[in-house]
């Protein structure tokens, strides 16, 4: 099924794009990650110009997060209070990200920066998650009780001034911590064309120390609003949002997200985290190889 993309200026196989959307939607519903970290590189690999890929993937992530967020909202899995603080940070972050994007693009180093960010962030977080979930799985298999966590959240978080109560997360911490976290993911969303969920979920778990049952829903809630801001930012500045491409991705991802959310309720959280860790490490490894090996394309063209 050939579909012509009016902004990307090329014909693609519509079914491939829908399938790609379904895959990332599944991840979105299961793990609360946007799935953008897979969509954007795969679209670029398929021949879609990088800016169009990043801009359209953002609106695809919006759709996937809505349907995932609804699923989690129904079972009370969103801390709206925490979510609002994260969103405020995230919107600030997209603005900063847009400026950084333009600067790096002018320097011609945007690809390298994106690749290094992928390797460092995905590699670090994937490794952390894999280690944690393997320890947890081994502990539960041996029948031994899981050792109690020594601390609820990172000492740096505790040292920040101002304290708010976040009831659903079961936290009494400074709102500056989620604000900064939201800002960091906002910057990454704009730079890497990703939802930032793969950063947000582990950071909420290990840095903020949020309750496991609200992490995925709240992360989706934040991603939803930040990707909406990103789509607007791209529509106004780069004019690279391809509505046809986004629509095709959406058809797949909104359905995938629903299926994923149902899986998530049945599976063990440790197993889910291990699977996510493996996917994340795989992408990081691929990117690391890409940096070291001679790339397929030595030359790249950008309009002046």
């Amino acid at each position: 099924m050939d579909v012509y993309l009016p902004i990307a200026n090329l014909a693609v196989n519509g079914l491939v794009i829908v399938g790609l959307g379904a895959l990332t939607g599944l991840l979105s519903g299961m793990f609360g990650v946007g799935g953008g970290f897979l969509t954007t590189p795969l679209l670029i690999f398929y021949g879609v110009p990088p800016t169009v890929a990043a801009a359209s993937a953002a609106s695809q992530v919006t759709g996937a997060s809505v349907s995932g967020a609804f699923a989690h909202a129904r079972r009370g899995g969103i801390d709206y209070h925490m979510g609002a603080v994260l969103v405020a940070g995230g919107v600030l972050g997209t603005g900063i990200g847009a400026l950084l994007f333009r600067l790096l693009q002018a320097l011609g180093q945007i690809d390298t920066v994106i690749n290094i960010l992928y390797v460092v962030l995905l590699g670090g977080i994937g490794g952390l998650m894999a280690h944690e979930s393997i320890t947890a799985l081994r502990a539960s298999r041996n029948g031994a009780a899981r050792p109690a966590r020594r601390r609820r959240h990172h000492p740096l978080v505790a040292s920040l001034p101002l304290r708010w109560r976040f009831y659903r997360s079961g936290l009494y911490i400074s709102p500056l911590a989620p604000l900064l976290l939201g800002m960091a993911t906002g910057i990454l969303t704009m730079l890497m064309g990703i939802g930032g969920g793969f950063i947000l979920v582990p950071a909420m778990l290990y840095i903020l120390g949020m309750g496991v049952n609200v992490v995925v829903g709240t992360s989706l809630f934040q991603i939803l609003f930040v990707t909406m801001a990103t789509t607007m930012m791209h529509a106004l500045t780069t004019h690279a949002v391809d509505i046809v491409l986004a629509g095709l991705l959406l058809i797949g991802s909104v359905s995938g997200a629903q299926v994923g959310a149902q899986f998530a309720q049945k599976a063990k959280p440790e197993q889910l985290r291990l699977i996510l860790a493996i996917i994340v490490l795989g992408v990081a490894l691929r990117m690391a190889l890409g940096l070291g090996y001679r790339p397929d394309e030595i030359y790249s063209v950008v309009p002046l």
């Binding site: 200026n9 759709g63 011609g108 789509t231 629509g247």
Partner: protein
Amino acid sequence: MALGPLWLMAGGARAPILVPEISQHQVEVRQGFTGADLLLYGAILDPAGTRAAQDYDIVVVLKGPVQSIVLREKSKVAGIWVNAANTQFRSAPSFFALASSRPVRDIVDEKTAAIYELGLDKLQLSPIGVIDPALQHRFSAGLVDLMARQGLYREDGHGVAISGQVLYSARIALPSQVRTGTYTAETFAIRQGRVITSAVTRVDVTKQGFERFVAEQAAGNGLLYGLFAVFVSVGMGWLAGRLFALV
């Protein structure tokens, strides 16, 4: 729609008459566009128009709108591949396809090929700034190689068929990712290494219907377009949520 042949006499009064034509002067980019196959054909006659011309070689060049580009080159710095060098070209064609009855190097010498831009290595890219020739050559070759692998630059040394020394035809495929704009198809009649005559026709590649509307809105109406994109994505996500809640 034919703009008519433009005459360019290079061989004096005895130049043959070249009548070029193209299968379509309008290429419409609509939903389902997967590229277009253009047939460039025509006839070469002697000035009296009474009989076939003698042995001529025909070269057909289809060229897309030119664009100013930055070309970046990766090289290995401290163990990783980064964009290290770059150069700017003011007039890189977005599409270039050359078809000839024999390979160009057998038809004309280097100098003539350079004058008429006959060949992928003879493109006049107008580099901006001062560059040494060796470096410029490397960059041009890199650009040509990149565009060739994307199907946007092509050279076919046996792409023109001449029948009865009168009629010639060449088939050039436009891939789906071509840029919109005015394309020029230039036909050269060459004899004994000299360009005897040439003629130009034009092809307009334009977006039509829905595709045109989307492209215009995205470029000129960013706010509404962005809001619509957000509305669609939220709406579709919400709809899927409702539908699956019923299941």
